[in-house]
């Protein structure tokens, strides 16, 4: 079952007044339970595609369907609601809120959906337990290592039970060992909970672990294969 589907997607950026074609006629889909990696060299359009299917940006041309609804022309407010309820994000630089503790960062995502304080505390603790970061609950981001912060970011992404988690270069700032641990966690989430993951990465160990590999080059899909 396709959760996300793009049709003839184009994205053109303006860079100092010069148009730059970031994506060209991209047809791509994400199915339930996918563990897909978007790979390719820098400037190939991985992050642009991830941003578009994550409702963070709008296409220049073409359509994006989320659960068969065209979201390419939706208003920012509607896209915000979609991101909150259906999508989870993991970023290269972790991007935790520095003034909140680990557990508060995880709760923050739930707060936006209106979950009661008691329930979100319990759910945050459960997720932290599951990811083995329970002891980090009261630590602020500057008191945690990169790997720890990224695990908290994963917890924040999955705690609202999104349909898809989009991870932009999640291991880029981590050493290979820590990156492997993080990938183990995400793989487990995918297998045990059937959470759908889409990565953009050029990290070989991420590419190796992807069940589906989509290679991008110059804004176009060059190849696609199941692994």
């Amino acid at each position: 079952m396709e959760i996300i589907k793009t049709e003839n997607l184009d994205k053109v950026y303006e860079d100092n007044g010069i148009p730059v074609q970031a994506l060209k006629n991209v047809n791509f889909s994400v199915r339930k339970g996918d563990f897909t990696v978007l790979a390719g060299p820098s400037g190939s359009g991985k992050t642009t595609l991830l941003n578009l299917i994550g409702a963070l940006d709008s296409p220049t041309a073409g359509k994006i369907f989320f659960e068969e609804n065209d979201i390419s022309k939706k208003k920012p407010r509607e896209l915000s609601s979609l991101r909150l309820s259906k999508l989870g994000f993991i970023f290269q630089a972790y991007n935790l809120i520095p003034v909140l503790t680990a557990i508060e960062n995880i709760e923050f995502a739930m707060m936006l959906t209106g979950i009661s304080e008691k329930e979100r505390r319990q759910r945050a603790l459960d997720v932290m337990e599951e990811l083995g970061i329970r002891e980090l609950a009261d630590k602020r981001p500057n008191e945690m290592s990169g790997g720890q912060q990224q695990r908290v970011a994963v917890a924040r992404a999955i705690v609202n039970n999104p349909m898809v988690i989009l991870a932009d270069e999640p291991t880029a700032n981590l050493d290979s060992k820590t990156g492997a641990v993080l990938l183990d966690i995400m793989e487990r989430m995918n297998k045990e909970k059937n959470i759908t993951f889409v990565f953009s990465s050029h990290d070989p160990q991420v590419i190796e672990r992807g069940k589906r590999l989509v290679m991008l080059h110059d804004g176009m899909i060059e190849s696609e294969k199941e692994q």
Partner: protein, 404 residues
């Protein structure tokens, strides 16, 4: 959680927050102090005017206000007295005779407004008795006169000296009496002092040939707020042969001055607000520029613009609340101290005296003063947060996350 986040956000850069807090605290303290000072100035001017002569309500013959001649005595003193004697809305009243005349000493003469009063009644209506600086108030002798020190200096007389008072009688003749100076008063109003001398009511009636008639009833209402209603009721009962005037009608200039002073305080609030607002805007904008990536993240997580807007407003409100507490403590403390000790403005005493204000001013701190200052600070902070908040919600998640 949004509140917690906003609270912690303002402490991200402690030095910057403390500097901006310091400026708002100073603004709040200045507003509290200035407001308390203006309130004191207006109240003391008002009370001095009411207390020295005006009272809350005056009942005269129609036209007396513009033509204070002895012939304009009240048509029926008993009717008026019957109306005011047992009226629960009236705390005190005093019958008066008011006429212009001349005081002559062996050395000099001075034009004066004679005020004939019954001292037992007048002492509850006006405060002249409290302003006696030499000698005493009336003791009941028929030929006593209480005048201002300033008039005594003009006439070159002192306590115990004899002077002659002259005024036109009700029949148009010249009436005169010999008086002995028993008391000298000095109010805070130099203009008032120059004009008024007090003599016993019966002596005034005799000197002016008025019989039992009087020129005026001066009333003190039980409740100041009730004055307009009381004035209307009395005017209705007495009819158009009488003019019943409230203090606002008697002292239109003072009431205009009070109104203008209150309006000018609003202007001062705005000036102080403007002085603070740019600092607050700058601090909030800096704080937002430092967090652009973070705004991108919270937007991508799904935080709606309305919540981001509210969060920034909370940050401004927190700055305001902390400043209000600090400003109320500092401004309130200074004001309270001066409220007890008084502010000695002797250097400006002449100018103040022309406004009917003493050389020592006592600022009046009240809950209303604090609330007004709070309102100004909170409004300023909220207004200051609008631009930074709009700036934040106009960010696009993707661009914000790329921001370096």
């Amino acid at each position: 959680m949004l509140l917690r986040l906003a609270w912690r956000n303002i402490w991200r850069n402690q030095r910057r927050s403390l500097i901006i807090l310091g400026s708002i605290v100073v603004g709040m303290a200045i507003i509290v102090f200035l407001d308390a000072l203006v309130v004191a100035f207006l109240n003391q001017t008002f009370e001095n005017q009411i207390g020295s002569h005006t009272a809350h309500i005056q009942i005269n013959r129609e036209g007396f206000k513009d033509n204070k001649t002895v012939q304009n005595y009240l048509p029926a003193t008993e009717t008026v007295e019957a109306l005011v004697r047992n009226n629960p809305e009236i705390a005190h009243y005093s019958r008066r005779i008011i006429t212009f005349g001349l005081l002559n000493s062996a050395y000099n003469s001075s034009g004066i407004s004679f005020v004939g009063v019954n001292p037992e009644d007048e002492q509850y209506v006006t405060t002249i008795k409290q302003y006696i600086v030499e000698g005493r108030y009336f003791r009941g002798d028929a030929n006593e006169i209480v005048m201002s020190r300033r008039t005594a200096e003009t006439l070159q007389v002192g306590l115990g000296d004899r002077i002659v008072g002259m005024a036109s009688t009700v029949d148009g003749d010249i009436g005169s009496e010999m008086f002995r100076v028993v008391g000298l008063y000095q109010t805070v109003s130099s203009g008032f002092d120059r004009m008024h001398a007090y003599i016993p009511l019966a002596t005034a009636q005799h000197m002016l040939g008025l019989g039992q008639n009087v020129s005026q009833f001066a009333l003190i209402a039980s409740d100041l707020d009730n004055v307009p209603h009381l004035r209307s009721t009395l005017q209705e009962s007495l009819g158009d042969k009488y003019e019943v005037l409230s203090y606002a009608e008697i002292m239109p200039l003072l009431m205009t001055m009070i109104d203008m002073s209150q309006q000018s305080m609003v202007f001062i609030y705005v000036i102080i607000g403007i002085a603070m607002i740019f600092g607050i805007i700058n601090a909030l904008l800096m704080s937002i520029f430092e967090r652009i990536r973070e705004f991108g993240v919270i937007m991508s997580i799904g935080m709606k613009n309305s919540r981001i807007f509210i969060m920034i407003m909370f940050e401004a409100v927190f700055l305001g609340i902390i400043s209000i507490v600090g400003g109320a403590v500092i401004g309130g403390g200074i004001t309270l101290q001066l409220q007890n000790s008084g502010m000695n403005l002797a250097a400006f005493s002449e100018g103040l005296a022309s406004w009917g204000i003493g050389a020592v001013l006592y600022p009046e701190l009240s809950i209303a003063v604090i609330f007004r200052a709070m309102f100004v600070i909170l409004c300023t902070c909220l207004l200051a947060s609008i631009w930074p908040a709009v700036k934040a919600i106009r960010l696009k998640p993707v661009e914000a996350m790329r921001y370096v």
